[in-house]
Subunit: 210 residues, 4 copies
């Protein structure tokens, strides 16, 4: 099995992005699956282009995009991406779309095809705070997840894809307001590796309550 | 103009639901619009039936459903409802759907047709914490919002509809962990009244960033 | 009975201070006690001077100083003031003491003589989130509380005194990060009035667990 | 130099206490100082007895007691202990003191003699969220810190002593409400080691603002 794992570059004034920093820490093989790592730019337009090129090149069995959700205390696989781009801050190219669809011919939303409940269960069993999330927001993270699931829907129905949001790295929380939760980068990477394992082990998601 | 405003009955061990308590406090006329108030049960199946009957009977110009989002500090109009019912706790009828679509023939999601940015702006200008939300969860709140927007899509395309989540009432927060935010019921009602005004005043939503 | 209730003026870039705004809303008589209201400056040195002058002039039976604790969700009577001034930001006179004692000949700390458990119980019974606090910080709030209790210790042993921290007013939370709790000003005033009642009704504090 | 570092055993229904778990991970020598590790019981009376015996036996140059502060996101050296025991839950011996002084002949409070600002600065420089705290609460943590500083005040004026509160371990946060911050145990241990280094390196605390 071949799994593409992407992480964003820093944005919003940060000097690191825990998403790609953690992705870099992943081993090259997890549970027998080959891991392909890719940094994507925090840019509405280009992130999708870069992802699409990598998917076309590598034809992975599954794609997991990873992004930073500052303020969350847990690793949160996303269930759904919505066809809406609405940015509070400019992306790294200076683009700031407002109330725009991501794909004019796309569905209003796409649900992830990753086994998100299995991922959460596996991380929690290993002592890592994890939870399902029902919103990837309306910035570049949601946009990339939507673009991925649109691509799968149109061209690669056998591929599985989705998105995982991760907390701030500890280093980032040092300069944030007291009370801001964070997670150490190697722990984020450990959680991501377990999530990858869940993808390898679960063709279909668990039928469990969270 | 005629506006139907609904609020849920208590659930999850609570003795009150700030949603309907606040709806009850609304005047019968706001900005010239007639307000019709309706309590709906916190039940997956019945809530939609009760709402649909009221819509068919009153043929309102707009429908605003209101629900409790314990732990939020602000009044949060929802942008989108997703076609997914996945309950962590049983509803008031004991039903606890898991990973089920709400309408098998429905879209994956429906966006609200209410002017949610105008609502938020109006509440904030009046000193009431308010913000857009991109998830109504996967319990009965999302289910009712989805059912409403499905109904509008299929039968009443000229109607506008959506959902607003409100914080715990102050009385509820007394018995919650220290730090749990809340809002006084009359303030929630004041916020809802301003949201109704925004519906009356804005045929289309504002094109602004949040 | 005569009760002096003070509130600070705005500081730290705020245009209002919910403390004095709420104090202004108090009636002139509560539970038979005469209420004297006083605004004090958010200045290390001057706040104590202004308070001391008012105490000398009015000889109240009890003094309740009120201050803003931005980020708290509940009204929190303070149990103890410490002999330490250590400021992260300048006060309204530009003073920013670092690791200094407030009174060189003072005790390391003074405990409040107000019935704080009775106050909390009374507010909670009325549906107002309230809790004991064990720190008034190291800025002007703690300094004023310490100065008051030092004055009582040295000159007015029959007087009772203490401090209550209150949340941001709702209007303030509008421009704070999403999630910041707040309380409507009339509710803060209602809580303070109940706290005053508890002072009138309880010569000694309740012997209860929180 | 010889430094005694203590950590509590689990309490309040927890199966681990991150305090002693992290203390156990410390090396036996830090910055040239010998580290003596001691588990203390979460019991009002016995914790002090056990600590006092160890101090009498080892005559350390400095003592750092460590405890769990569930809900905090950062490692927080405490500045002050107050002469008050007031428990919301029973300790591990079933004792639940209410509004009692810890030492009838003790000062109202003792300030730590550890270089807490240097500790915080050193941890933050290493990417570990850390902050000063002004309250150790009124349960066993405060009681042990107070007992230590009382002992130093009466018998060992050349010793330095204080207390550090640490967040939940990640494993604990898994079963706490979503949003509960935590820190990985090795990171807590890394922070504690840096705090010990700060004690070795700083005879007196830094004169800096936080």
């Amino acid at each position: 099995m071949k799994i593409l794992v992407t992480g964003f570059d820093p944005f919003g004034g940060e000097t690191v992005n825990p998403a790609y920093e953690a992705v870099k820490l992943l081993p090259d093989t997890i549970a027998g699956a080959q891991i392909i790592k890719l940094q994507v730019p925090t840019r509405f337009a280009l992130s999708g282009t870069v992802l699409e090129a990598a998917v076309n090149e590598h034809r992975p069995d599954a794609i997991i995009c990873v992004g930073q959700a500052g303020g969350r205390s847990a690793i949160t696989p996303e269930r759904v991406a919505i066809n809406l781009a609405d940015a509070n801050i400019p992306d790294n190219a200076g683009d700031q779309p407002m109330d725009e669809p991501i794909r004019k011919d796309g569905a209003p939303a796409y649900f992830t095809s990753l086994p998100v409940k299995a991922m959460v269960q596996k991380m929690r069993a290993a002592g890592i705070p994890a939870a399902l999330s029902y919103t990837a927001g309306s910035f570049v993270c949601n946009s990339l997840m939507y673009t991925l699931l649109y691509l799968i829907d149109r061209q690669y129905p056998a591929m599985r894809g989705g998105f995982i949001h991760v907390p701030y790295a500890m280093e980032q929380a040092v300069s944030k307001p007291l009370g801001t939760p964070s997670m150490e980068l190697h722990q984020i990477a450990r959680g991501l590796a377990l999530a990858v394992e869940a993808v390898v082990e679960n063709e279909r998601d668990l039928t469990v309550n969270r």
